[in-house]
Every structure is written in structure tokens, then in C-alpha cells.
């Protein structure tokens, strides 16, 4: 079970709020939505999930272990020497991880490229998901990708975990920063709401704002 698996992870307490805020969305993705298994992790038409918010990947690792992508005993040594699990994920070291992230503001641009590459190669049913944090949206590179995806338009799904940690907040709301995108607002812990948001396919880029408790509460 993912929650008990998550408790097994230690060594990155600094990022624990980040990890826990993403847990339910990542669980719903892997348990209900993504067409990917350890056996299909290298298939070219697999669905893609990129954790742009590479900070605090404990929830991600826990889900990957639960779904059989990585051995559970890897979890005991996160961040240690000779461990494949860092406190930020590395796609070269970890089966099932699509993007090595940690520096904020990279995942959405990469996801746009992934979605374009899949479309160009005819994988029209393959979906691309990327998960960001609300504070991460401060990075200007996100806004380059947001505008470009809307202009195309490119059907990928971005999930923003809103734990109200952006330094200056988002006056007017996060969706106002995604012009041209369709939007779902969900409770970031309600699995059915999250699933409904993730299943939306509009032909446009789709934003899901998953609200969770404030980081600093």
C-alpha cells in the first residue's frame, strides 16, 4: 500500500510536505489513468508522466514501488551513496521515471516536446501528463511553455498542486496564468475528483488545479 510504503522513506524530511501533497494525484494517475506498467515502460506508445516538481519525490517513489517499477527495498536508502533514488528523481537510474527533475521549471517544456514528438510519430492516443507545484510557476520557462501549448493547441495535461506556497501567491487564481487552456479544479486528496479531471480530453491543453492544505499551515 502506497501510504505505508511512503512511511518507509526517510532522509528527505525537508521536502516531506512536497512529497505528501502530490501523493493522491500520483496514485490516481498510476492506479486509474496511465496506460503504463513495468512491462510496457519502454513501449513507444506508453502514456507519459513527468514530475516537473522533482522536489520531494518520496510519493512518486512509493507509487513506483507499489506498481512494481522499482524494488521496495530501494526505498530504504533514498539519498544515500550507491542508491538509485536521490532526493530528486533521475530518469537514467530509475525504471519508469520519464524525466530527471529537481531544478524547477523544466518539466512543462519537456512535456510539450514529448507531446509534440508523440504526435509527430503518430501516437495520437498516447497522453502526456506533467505535474508542477504552484510555487514552481514562478519560473518564467513555464510561461513560455503555457503560451506555446495554447497557441498550437497541444493536448497535454498539466496538474498544478496548489498548496499556496508561491512566494507572492497567484492573484486572480492559477487558471488565469493559463490562457487558452481548459481547466478542472479538484480537491487534491479526492481520488474521484482527481480522476474526473485527469480523464478530460478537449483537444486543447488541459490544466488541473489540485488544491491541498497550505504548505505552511
Amino acid at each position: 500500500m502506497t501510504v505505508s510504503t511512503l512511511r518507509r522513506l526517510t532522509g528527505d524530511e525537508k521536502h516531506a510536505p512536497s512529497a505528501h501533497s502530490t501523493l493522491d494525484v500520483i496514485r490516481v494517475l498510476y492506479e486509474r489513468v496511465l496506460r503504463i506498467t513495468p512491462e510496457t515502460a519502454d513501449e513507444p506508445d506508453r502514456d507519459r508522466f513527468l514530475l516537473s516538481k522533482g522536489h520531494g519525490p518520496a510519493a512518486y517513489y512509493a507509487v513506483l514501488a507499489d506498481r512494481g517499477f522499482i524494488p521496495e527495498d530501494w526505498l530504504d536508502r533514498m539519498g544515500q551513496w550507491n542508491s538509485p533514488l536521490g532526493t530528486h528523481p533521475d530518469r537514467v537510474l530509475i525504471p519508469g521515471v520519464e524525466a530527471g527533475t529537481g531544478s524547477l521549471g523544466h518539466g512543462l517544456g519537456l512535456a510539450v516536446g514529448v507531446a509534440l514528438g508523440l504526435r509527430a510519430q503518430g501516437y495520437l492516443q498516447t497522453r502526456t501528463f506533467v505535474l508542477l507545484g504552484d510555487a514552481e510557476l514562478d519560473e518564467g520557462s513555464n510561461h513560455e511553455a503555457i503560451a506555446y501549448a495554447a497557441a498550437l493547441p497541444l493536448p497535454l495535461t498539466a496538474i498544478v498542486i496548489d498548496n499556496r506556497s508561491a512566494t507572492h501567491g497567484w492573484p486572480g487564481g492559477i487558471p488565469a496564468r493559463f490562457p487558452g487552456w481548459t481547466v478542472s479544479l479538484v480537491d487534491g486528496h479526492d481520488h474521484d475528483e482527481i480522476e474526473r479531471g485527469l480523464l478530460v480530453r478537449t483537444g486543447k491543453p488541459h490544466l488541473i488545479v489540485a488544491a491541498v492544505e497550505p504548505k505552511w499551515s
Binding site: G100, S103, L110, L116, G117, S141
Partner: protein, 293 residues
């Protein structure tokens, strides 16, 4: 001419190979317009968003495509350095970066549009092949060779060209035999040949400074070596030192100076100011080699 050759060769690659992708950040979108129209799914202009251009390139590469990215060197390399480091290198993917405007080619635009440090920046990263053509006829083969694999390649196009092409310039190619070794990188060849016309030196050319032909350098260098590069002076100093490790030698590294020249004009003006025209090179060579050269 190099830019025109690049556009023609890359447009042909897009036509011939469905794996080829082109990602622009507005620069050269006008000359690539036919390709952008013909291949809208993989010839892309993301707008003036260089970080995104590299991110998109990394994503395309993740799906098995071969992306060619292009802009002015200060925007392609300096500005998007972290994306190059992470979205390509750290993801263990590759791309072909093709720049114009390296060093001081955009002289009239001022220092915001200069990039003397592009190759030095890439030298901080692993696995980059750096190609610096000295003539536009050397460009198509570089682009086509890069299409055959997935590695990280930087092709630095320039306004300055030599009078003739050397398609076999991947290794050190000796053009003049004599005393101390002078290595000319890319478009530095003609001014080096002019500067050394009556000097007893060996002149070798390369358009592939990375990986540097260290074996050739070790064979050719006999105690004194001068490297003339069209980017930041000393960029290759570490590699030359490693190549000649254990061999007593003196080395001189000539290239673009670190001090910003707050002036405009043409690339020829800046070459002169940095001592990279024939007369300036001759002064530096004679000072280093003494009267015996």
C-alpha cells in the same frame, strides 16, 4: 553563407528523414518558412522562448526524434545553459545545436548579442562534440553526420570564412610543415596562414575542436604549441595540457579576450581589437617565439 548552407541542408534533412525535427525560437524562422509550412508537426517555432526551445528539444529526443535547435549563440547557449545541462545532458538525450552570432559576429548589436564563451560553457558539460566550420562547404557533412546518431553536437556557424574548405578537418590536418606547431580552429586558418607566411612553423587545421585530436597534437607538437581559436582565449588550454602531459612544452593560447570591448562596427573591427587579425596574430606569435621563428 554558412547560415544559408545550414538552412538548405537542414530543410533537406527534414524532407528525407522523418526522425529529423527542427526547433526555432523565432530566429531564422523567415528563411525556414517553407520547411515550417511543409512539416508543421516537427518543424516548430516556439517563439522567442529559448529555454523552451531546448526543453522541447529534450522532449522530442526523449521520444526518439533527432532535434536540431538554432538561434544566436548567446541565446542558444548562454541563456539556455541550464536547459542544455539538464534537459539534454542530465536526461541522457541529445540534440544538434546550431548557432550563428558566436563571439562578435553581431558586432553592431553590442555585447548582449556576443557569445565568446559558448564553447567554454559546453566544456563544463559531458559528451559534446563541437564543430567549428571554417568554410560553408564544410557545413552540410557536419549536419548529415549528426543526423546518424543521438549524441550532443554543437555546430558554430560564423560570418568569417577561409578561402577554401577542408572537409577532412576532423583531425589535425597539416597545411604547412616547419617548426613550432600552430593549431588554427575553423575560420582562424586564413589569418594564421597569412600571419605565418614567412615564419618557420607548422600549421595544422581542425574544424572539430571537441573532441580535440589530442593524439595528433602529441605527434605534431615539439616543445612549443600555439592554439588560435575564434572564441574565448584559452578555452582549449586544459585539453592541450592534458594532451601534452609529460612532454616539456610551452603553450600560447590566442582567442577572444575576456574584457568586453564596448564598441560596435563589424566582426573585422572586433577581430582586430582582439588581436585575431593577421597582423595581431603575427605580433603575438613573434613575441612568443622570439626572433628565431
Amino acid at each position: 553563407m554558412m547560415r544559408e548552407t545550414f538552412v538548405a541542408a537542414t530543410t533537406a534533412l527534414l524532407d528525407e528523414d522523418p526522425r529529423t525535427a527542427l526547433v526555432l525560437a523565432d530566429i531564422s524562422a523567415d528563411v525556414f518558412a517553407p520547411a515550417l509550412r511543409k512539416h508543421p508537426d516537427r518543424a516548430l517555432n516556439v517563439g522567442i522562448r529559448e529555454q523552451l526551445m531546448v526543453g522541447v528539444g529534450g522532449g522530442l529526443a526523449m521520444t526518439g526524434m533527432r532535434p536540431y535547435l538554432h538561434s544566436y549563440a548567446p541565446f542558444l547557449v548562454d541563456r539556455a545553459y541550464e536547459q542544455i545541462k539538464l534537459d539534454l545532458g542530465h536526461q541522457d538525450t541529445g540534440a544538434v545545436l546550431v548557432s550563428i552570432g558566436g563571439s562578435y559576429d553581431s558586432a553592431a548589436s553590442g555585447y548582449t548579442h556576443h557569445s565568446p564563451g559558448d564553447v567554454a560553457l559546453l566544456d563544463t558539460l559531458e559528451g559534446w562534440t563541437v564543430l567549428v566550420p571554417g568554410h560553408h562547404d564544410e557545413v552540410p557533412a557536419m549536419l548529415r553526420e549528426a543526423a546518424r546518431h543521438d549524441d550532443r553536437v554543437y555546430i558554430r556557424l560564423g560570418l568569417q570564412e577561409n578561402t577554401r574548405a577542408y572537409p577532412d578537418g576532423g583531425k589535425l590536418r597539416v597545411l604547412k610543415r616547419g617548426g613550432p606547431l600552430v593549431v588554427a580552429v575553423g575560420p582562424m586558418l586564413d589569418p594564421v596562414l597569412a600571419a605565418t607566411a614567412d615564419l618557420d612553423v607548422t600549421v595544422a587545421y581542425t574544424n572539430t575542436p571537441r573532441p580535440l585530436d589530442t593524439e595528433g597534437m602529441r605527434l605534431l607538437a615539439e616543445g612549443e604549441v600555439i592554439v588560435v581559436e575564434p572564441y574565448l582565449a584559452g578555452t582549449s588550454a586544459r585539453l592541450v595540457s592534458e594532451a601534452l602531459s609529460g612532454l616539456p612544452h610551452r603553450a600560447l593560447h590566442l582567442g577572444v579576450g575576456r574584457a568586453e570591448i564596448r564598441d560596435y562596427g563589424t566582426w573585422e573591427d572586433h577581430a582586430r581589437a582582439h588581436g585575431l587579425d593577421a597582423a595581431g596574430l603575427r605580433r603575438s606569435l613573434r613575441a612568443f617565439l622570439g626572433g628565431g621563428a
